[in-house]
C-alpha cells in the first residue's frame, strides 16, 4: 500500500493538500513526515525574510527522498525544521504521528535524539574523540549504559565497514571514512529518519559515489533517508526528488521523471 503512494509523486498543490490532510489532525500512520503550510520567517535587522512560504509535504516510511533547490530556495531551512533543530513560524510538522512544531527546546532535543540521525556536509565529528566515542554520543544522551553503548556503537561502525578504524580520531581518517563515521553515528539510535545535508559536498566524486552506495544500501534495508542537496546528479540517487524554489515546492517527481527532466 505504501508502495502505491510513494510511486505516485504528488504533482499539484491541491493533490498534495489532500495527502497531507486537514490541519490539526494526526496524519495516517504510514507517513513518517507530514508538514502542513510550513512557514519560516527570519527577522534580518528589521527586514522579514520569508525563507519558507507554506510547504505541504508528506514522506512515508522507507522512502529515499532528495530535497533539491538552488541556494536561497529554503532547503536548509526546511531541513532544519524537519531535523527539529528549528521551529516553524506557522504551520504544522508531524513526525511519526507526533506534532513537533509546538515543542519546547528540551522536547525537541529528545526527538532529535530518538527519531533523527544527522549526516552533515562538514561531518561534524568531535575532533578530540575517537570514531567509537563519536558514534557513542547519541547513546550517551539517550542514557544508555556504557557497555551497551560500546556494543551498539561497534555494531553501527561495522555496518559502514569501519570496524578496524574505531580507535582513530577524525584527523586520522579520510573524508569518506569520516562521513561513514557520521553515518554510523546517525544510525546508532535506530532513528525514524536519516537526514543528510549535502552529504557529499566536501568529498571528491569517487568518495561521493561510495557514500551514495552506503545510502542506497540503507534505503534498500528499509531506512527512511532524506537528503538535501543542490547537485542534480546526487539527487538522482534518491527515488523521489522534491524541488524547492523561493520557499515553495516547485516539483515532486519520481527518480525517473526527475532524471529525464534534468538529463542526468
Amino acid at each position: 500500500m505504501n508502495q502505491q503512494i510513494t510511486e505516485a509523486p504528488l504533482g499539484s498543490t491541491a493533490e498534495r493538500q489532500i495527502v497531507v490532510g486537514a490541519s490539526g489532525q494526526a496524519p495516517d500512520s504510514r507517513w513518517v513526515i507530514v508538514t502542513r503550510g510550513l512557514k519560516r520567517d527570519y527577522d534580518m535587522g528589521g527586514e522579514v525574510v520569508r525563507a519558507l512560504r507554506g510547504v505541504d509535504l508528506a514522506i512515508s516510511r522507507n522512502e529515499y527522498v532528495a530535497i533539491m533547490g538552488p541556494s536561497g530556495s529554503g532547503k536548509s531551512t526546511l531541513m532544519n525544521l524537519i531535523g527539529c533543530l528549528d521551529t516553524p513560524s506557522a504551520g504544522e510538522y508531524w513526525l511519526n504521528g507526533t506534532l513537533v512544531s509546538r515543542m519546547s527546546d528540551d522536547q525537541l532535543a529528545r526527538v532529535r535524539n530518538k527519531e533523527i540521525g544527522f549526516v552533515f556536509q562538514t561531518f561534524n565529528l568531535l575532533p578530540r574523540a575517537t570514531a567509537l566515542h563519536n558514534v557513542e554520543l547519541p547513546l550517551v544522551y539517550a542514557g544508555i549504559t556504557s557497555d551497551e553503548r560500546k556494543r551498539r556503537a561497534r555494531a553501527a561502525l561495522e555496518r559502514v565497514q569501519l570496524e578496524n578504524r574505531m580507535d582513530h580520531r577524525p584527523n586520522e581518517l579520510s573524508g569518506g571514512q569520516r562521513q561513514r563515521v557520521a553515518i554510523a553515528r546517525a544510525l546508532v539510535n535506530e532513528p525514524s529518519i536519516l537526514l543528510a545535508d549535502e552529504p557529499t559536498g566536501n568529498l571528491d566524486s569517487q568518495t561521493s559515489e561510495e557514500i551514495m552506495r552506503v545510502f542506497e544500501e540503507l534505503a534498500t534495508q528499509g531506512q527512511t533517508v532524506i537528503m538535501v542537496t543542490h547537485e542534480p546528479d546526487i539527487a538522482a540517487h534518491a527515488r523521489r526528488v522534491v524541488v524547492l524554489r523561493d520557499g515553495l515546492l516547485s516539483s515532486d517527481d519520481r527518480r525517473e521523471a526527475f532524471a529525464a527532466k534534468h538529463g542526468v
Partner: protein, 413 residues
C-alpha cells in the same frame, strides 16, 4: 552526560593545555595553599598552647590559687599596684582551702625559685628551677619519673632533704652517671637525688627539664619561701564537671579569710587553663579570621579567572556544543558538562593547593618554632571550596553554552 565522562573530559583538557590550565588555576591553588597553611599553623599552635602549655604548665582541670596571675598580659600600672597591695597567700590559707575541698580533689602547695646548682662533678651552670611542693603536685602536673621514685607524704611531713630532678639537670650535674642516691646542692643546700623526671621539653621558653622538686617542708622551703609569700596552691578537680564547684569553694574560703565585703572584688587570683587561654583564644580568632578572609579574596579572584577561561572555552567549543545539541543533548546536559568541567578544573587546582599548603606548613614548622598540624577537615573543606568556586564561576559560562542555538553553533568555526 555521565559524571565520570565529564570529569575525564575535564582532566584531559588540563593535560592537553598545561600552561593555560596553570594560569587558570593559580588563583585557586595559591588561595587554597595559604588557607591550608594558615589553618595548619593555627591548628598546630592551638594544640601546642592548649595541650602542652595548658596541660604541662597548669594541668588538666586544674586551677592555681595565687596572689596575682602567673600568666599576665597587658597589665596596667594601676592593676600592678593593686596586685602589690594584695595580702600574701599563706600556708594557713592553703590548709584552709584543703580542708574545705571534697576528698576526691587533689591539692598541693608549691613554691618556686631560680637557684644555682652544684654537685661533686660540676660547678655552676644554668639556673635551676627549684620547687618545693607537697607530693600530690606530681599527680596534678602529671610528672612521672623514669628512674627512682617521687617523694612520699612522710618525707614531706618530716622535711627530708630528698630531690627529684629533671633530665637536663641529671645530665648536667651527673654526666654519664646514675644520679640516684647522689648529692645535688641547691644554693649550697645538699639534697639526695631520689628520682629523675621524664623528658618534658620547653613550654614557652620555660625549660621544664631544668626543674627540680623537693618536699615542701624540706630545706628547699627556706630557699623558696623566704618572704612568706606562698607561690601558689594548686587544686585539681576529679572531672571537668566538678571544676567550677571547686573553684567556688576555694573562692569562698579565701573571701572569708580575707574578710571581704560582698561588693569588694577578690584580692587573690584563681587561675585556670581557661582563663590563661583567654588571650590565646583572642589571638587565634584573629588569626583564623585573617587566615580565611585573605584566601577568600584570592578565591574570588581565582573564580573570576576561571569564569573568564570557561567563557573562552565555550566560545572555542561552540561548534562542539552545536553538534552535541543536534545529537540530542538537552540544555541541562550542556549545563552539567561545563559545570562539571569547571568544578573539576577548580577542584584539581585546590588539590594542588592542598599539597603545596601542607608543604608550606611543614616548611614553616621546620624553620621556625611555629608548629603545624594539618587538619583532615581542612583538606576536605579546601577541595570542596575548590569545586564550589568552580561551580559558581562556571555557572554563567555554562548557562550561556546551554542556551546556544544548535544551527548557529554548528555553523561557527
Amino acid at each position: 552526560m555521565p559524571l565520570f565522562e565529564a570529569v575525564r573530559l575535564a582532566l584531559a583538557t588540563i593535560r592537553v593545555q598545561k600552561l593555560k590550565s596553570f594560569f587558570t588555576l593559580i588563583g585557586v591553588t595559591i588561595s587554597v595553599m595559604f588557607l591550608i597553611a594558615v589553618v595548619s599553623i593555627v591548628q598546630g599552635m592551638s594544640r601546642y598552647v592548649e595541650d602542652d602549655f595548658a596541660g604541662k604548665f597548669l594541668g588538666v582541670n586544674t586551677f592555681n590559687l595565687r596572689r596575682f596571675p602567673d600568666i599576665q598580659n597587658d597589665v596596667t600600672a594601676e592593676q600592678w599596684r593593686e596586685w602589690q597591695r594584695r595580702p600574701n597567700i599563706t600556708i594557713e590559707d592553703a590548709t584552709a582551702v584543703k580542708q574545705a575541698l571534697p576528698a576526691d580533689a587533689r591539692w598541693a602547695m608549691h613554691d618556686v625559685v631560680w637557684a644555682d646548682g652544684s654537685s661533686d662533678f660540676t660547678q655552676g651552670g644554668p639556673q635551676i628551677l627549684a620547687e618545693a611542693a607537697t607530693p600530690e603536685y606530681f599527680a596534678i602536673k602529671d610528672l612521672n619519673v623514669t628512674q627512682g621514685r617521687i617523694f612520699t607524704e612522710q618525707e614531706d611531713a618530716l622535711g627530708t632533704d630528698v630531690i627529684v630532678i629533671g633530665t637536663e639537670v641529671a645530665e648536667r650535674y651527673f654526666p654519664n652517671l646514675d644520679a640516684i642516691g647522689r648529692e645535688l646542692r641547691i644554693n649550697r643546700f645538699p639534697f639526695r637525688v631520689i628520682g629523675v623526671l621524664e623528658k618534658q621539653g620547653t613550654v614557652f621558653g620555660m625549660p621544664l627539664d631544668r626543674q627540680v622538686l623537693a618536699p615542701f617542708h624540706s630545706e628547699m622551703s627556706r630557699l623558696t619561701h623566704a618572704r612568706h609569700n606562698l607561690y601558689g596552691v594548686v587544686v585539681q578537680a576529679p572531672s571537668p564537671a566538678a571544676f567550677d564547684g571547686l573553684q567556688q569553694i576555694a573562692r569562698e574560703v579565701m573571701r572569708k579569710r580575707h574578710k571581704l565585703h560582698p561588693a569588694e572584688p577578690d584580692d587573690f587570683s584563681l587561675e585556670s587553663s581557661a582563663s590563661a587561654l583567654g588571650q590565646w583564644m583572642t589571638i587565634k580568632k584573629y588569626l583564623v579570621l585573617a587566615g580565611t578572609v585573605l584566601p577568600a579574596i584570592g578565591l574570588v579572584v581565582g573564580a573570576i579567572v576561571i569564569m573568564n577561561i570557561m567563557l573562552v572555552a565555550v566560545a572555542e567549543r561552540t561548534r562542539e556544543i552545536g553538534i552535541r545539541k543536534s545529537l540530542g543533548a538537552r540544555r541541562r546536559d550542556i549545563l552539567a558538562q561545563f559545570l562539571v568541567e569547571s568544578a573539576t578544573l577548580s577542584a584539581f587546582g585546590a588539590l594542588i593547593g592542598v599539597g603545596l599548603g601542607i608543604a608550606l606548613a611543614q616548611g614553616v614548622a621546620k624553620i621556625s618554632p611555629l608548629p603545624a598540624a594539618v587538619a583532615p577537615w581542612s583538606i576536605v573543606l579546601a577541595v570542596g571550596i575548590g569545586a564550589g568556586v568552580g561551580i559558581i564561576a562556571g555557572a554563567y559560562p555554562a548557562s550561556r553554552a546551554s542556551r546556544l542555538d544548535p544551527i548557529i553553533a554548528m555553523r561557527s568555526e
